[in-house]
């Protein structure tokens, strides 16, 4: 094990934990910046200085897009299972990734890259599947693609300069896409996306059950009588 690469992998997974667990959007963006800067560096041999500069610039640009989109007092939903659980998930998946380096054959890249990739992928699953706000789902999407790139680096070896450039394009595109979606969501009132069809479905009165007094939907235009209260306060 290369201690420097292991430390980088740990920091990257830590950044991912911060990104998925924090309710404060600034902290989440900082976590994402750590992931985007750290992930390309988990390689043996290291990328060329020019590649590192390009990747850092791309990471800064992507997070800058997000900062522009998320100005003001905003709070995401954060994790529902708590950050210690996220840390455990990331660490456990990282160990699995390290132990299974090569996935059945000899891996040409660093085992630490595959470990970080597995950790990020595990942390991305919950936001992608159960995320309620666009920032959280967007962070999940970014982490998943970074995780795939890390696994590729672990299996196939270090990327060429052109591949680093294409990876930088992907990073910028991801940051821009999440920023555009976040701005659209904020224009509608918050970070939670609105499924208009789902809302319409929610408003539909039940027609498969007998209408009873307690379940009957209020009729359109009907006002509550004075002194009459619902079942719930």
């Amino acid at each position: 094990m290369n201690p420097a690469l292991a430390a980088l992998a740990a920091v990257t997974i830590g950044g991912a934990v911060l990104a998925v667990a924090a309710r404060d959007v600034r902290s989440a963006v900082v976590g994402l910046l750590v992931v985007l800067v750290g992930a390309p560096l988990i390689a043996d041999p290291w990328p060329t200085p020019l590649s590192i500069l390009v990747r850092i610039a791309a990471a800064l640009l992507a997070t800058r897009f997000l900062v522009i989109a998320l100005r003001g007092d905003l709070a995401g939903t954060g994790t529902r299972i708590g950050w210690p659980t996220e840390v455990l998930i990331g660490a456990a998946a990282g160990l699995v990734g390290y132990g299974s380096h090569g996935l059945g054959a000899v891996g040409l890249g660093a085992a630490e890259a595959q470990a970080a990739g597995f950790g990020l992928a595990a942390l991305a699953i919950a936001p992608l599947i159960t995320g309620r706000d666009v920032l959280r789902i967007g962070i999940g999407a970014i982490l998943l693609l970074v995780a795939a790139s890390l696994v590729r680096s672990g299996l196939d070896g270090p990327l060429t300069d052109a591949e680093q450039l294409i990876g930088a394009m992907l990073t910028i595109g991801l940051g821009g896409a999440v920023a555009v979606i976040s701005i659209a969501a904020r224009s509608a009132g918050g970070l939670e996306p609105i499924d208009l069809k789902a809302l319409e479905r929610g408003r539909r009165t039940p027609d498969a059950h007998r209408a009873s007094g307690s379940r009957r939907a209020p009729e359109a235009g009907r006002t509550r009588e004075p002194g009459r209260t619902g079942r719930r306060p």
Partner: protein, 547 residues
């Protein structure tokens, strides 16, 4: 010439167009100029021209040249129709950037890098799928599209990485290859929005501008599918592994998408939904071509991709022109549209002919080939003739158009050309012959100037006829491609000059691997020499080159 000039023009024009997005006219003009230059650059791409940049090879091919050329032409016409009809913001720049990213993905011989480029290009579409003006709906649609792109991209990246190295003992484990193959197949289905992965695509079809639909749902995913075809041809097919279950799953997705896509399109009332579901239906054949693990799938698979993208672009352009002309996309409100827009009626007939085809036409034979290779016999016949049911879709639209004009259609523009009111004729006041001669010359000169000054007004007044003419041109292009024109089958048949080594490189002598069984990369696929058997490639026998 290499593909680099095309990529540079696309990057510069697309970025500039988006940077000046606040000035919509300039943004569109820059994109149109870029598309003209891209057309010229695409025509000059050499089929064997390669260049190495930063350790990665960018290689041209005949199919890539045709994809770039058709993409630039279709992109130009789509943007022109959009300007004439509805003029949506950001679309021109996104079309240019998306096309550039797709061509970059196709130019990279290493599928592992190509899928990253194809995924990055797909992200450009979110700009138009999540327009800020329609905030509430946009955020929901945009985040769904991003999630689909991320899942598809990740599956493809890991699948290609897994098999892109010497695999030692793993080469004997079919499950590993099956998983990777299945992952990439599903990734392609997700990118196309094939049924049952169509939910995100249906919402994109609802929210995104109609003119951007071909890029989001056809051109970008088609590049992704072309990369998948190349990867399967290099890394999975030559191993001749028993992957019946995986093939069956991918074939089932393709067949279900073809049949249910047509049914879904038939019952829709919104034109963009109809366009979206016909794209999903046609994408089913692209997915089916991935289920064939034999060299026979190479030509029909890549032929179908070109036919599919051009044909669906023409249909999307037709829907945009109707929307621009009559201000609605809902079929029940479009009664009598053919009477007000006969050119568009003619275009729809051409588009339907190009989409359905007839026995002997390239599109028909391609569909039959793919279905026969991917599916068992009775099912193959059913899927191959399923597109005939599309006649009901186009027939329904035409039938509504032949009814009495609805109030919405009567208030619409119609595609009969008009001319602005001319300046009154100037009276002759000269007395002598010489004087009258000078006067006539002066009148002729000022009359010519009047015509020139009135041209912008005439263009604005004839937006609908101009859009209709562009749609008709696009429909004709679609029919030409469906008929095998422009050298589509030949381009699809050719094998790229540079191919990436497969996983068996470095494996033990005598061990079966992709490098052993792959076709020679320096010669085209021998189309005049039939495959030894008329049956689909037998999974338990080695490739012909191995004896």
């Amino acid at each position: 010439m290499t593909v680099v000039p095309f990529l540079v023009i696309a990057a510069v024009a697309g970025t500039l167009s988006l940077l000046v997005r606040d000035r919509r006219g300039w943004s569109t003009l820059i994109a149109l100029a870029g598309l003209v230059l891209m057309t010229a650059a695409a025509a000059a791409i050499g089929s064997a021209a390669t260049i190495t940049i930063g350790g990665t090879v960018l290689a041209g091919s005949e199919w890539l040249r045709l994809y770039a050329l058709l993409g630039s032409l279709v992109g130009f016409l789509l943007v022109a129709i959009d300007v004439s009809a509805v003029h949506e913001p950001d679309v021109p720049g996104v079309v240019v950037l998306g096309l550039g990213a797709a061509v970059l993905a196709l130019a990279i011989p290493d599928p592992g890098v190509a899928v990253v480029a194809a995924t990055a290009g797909g992200l450009a579409g979110i700009l138009v799928a999540a327009p800020i003006e329609a905030a509430a709906r946009a955020a929901f649609v945009g985040i769904r599209e991003l999630r689909a792109l991320a899942v598809a991209g990740s599956l493809a990246i890991v699948a290609t990485a897994w098999l892109a190295r010497p695999l030692d003992d793993l080469a004997g484990a079919p499950a590993a290859f099956g998983l990777a193959y299945l992952a990439f197949g599903i990734a392609v289905a997700v990118r196309f929005g094939a049924i049952p992965f169509h939910l995100w695509a249906a919402r994109v079809a609802d929210a995104a501008p109609g003119v951007a639909l071909p890029l989001l749902m056809a051109w970008g995913p088609a590049a992704f599918a072309a990369v998948a075809l190349t990867w399967i041809d290099q890394s999975v097919a030559p191993l001749v592994l028993p992957l019946g279950t995986e093939r069956g799953l991918i074939a089932a997705i393709g067949a279900v998408s073809v049949v249910l896509g047509i049914v879904a399109a038939w019952i829709q009332d919104d034109l963009e939904h109809i366009v979206g579901y016909t794209i999903a239906a046609d994408a089913g054949f692209a997915v089916l071509s991935l289920a064939v693990l034999s060299p026979e799938a190479w030509e029909p698979g890549r032929t179908w991709l070109l036919i599919f993208v051009v044909g669906r672009s023409a249909f999307a352009a037709w829907a945009v022109a109707i929307h621009g002309g009559f201000g609605t996309r809902r079929l029940p409100q479009l009664g009598g549209w053919v009477r007000r827009a006969p050119l568009l009626g003619l275009a729809l007939v051409v588009i339907a002919s190009a989409a359905i085809g007839w026995p002997g036409l390239t599109i028909w034979e391609t569909r039959v080939s793919i279905a026969t290779l991917a599916l068992p016999d009775p099912l193959a016949a059913l899927v191959a003739i399923a597109p005939l049911a599309s006649m009901a879709i186009y027939g329904r639209i035409l039938w509504i158009g032949l009814q009495a004009p609805s109030p919405v259609v009567l208030e619409g523009r119609g595609d009969r050309p008009g001319w602005p009111t001319s300046v009154p004729r100037r009276p002759m006041v000269g007395l002598g012959a010489v004087e009258r001669g000078f006067e006539r010359a002066a009148h002729a000169a000022t009359g010519a100037l009047d015509v020139i000054w009135v041209l912008p007004t005439a263009a604005r007044q004839n937006r609908m006829p101009l859009a209709s003419a562009a749609v008709l041109a696009l429909a004709a292009l679609a029919l030409a491609v469906s008929g095998g024109g422009l050298g589509v089958p030949e381009a699809a048949r050719a094998v790229p000059a540079i191919t990436q080594p497969g996983p068996a490189e470095g494996s033990e002598p005598g061990q079966l691997g992709p490098g052993d069984g792959a076709r020679p990369s320096d010669e085209p696929f021998p189309s005049d020499e039939p495959f030894p058997s008329d049956e689909p490639f037998p999974s338990d026998e080695p490739f012909p080159s191995e004896g």
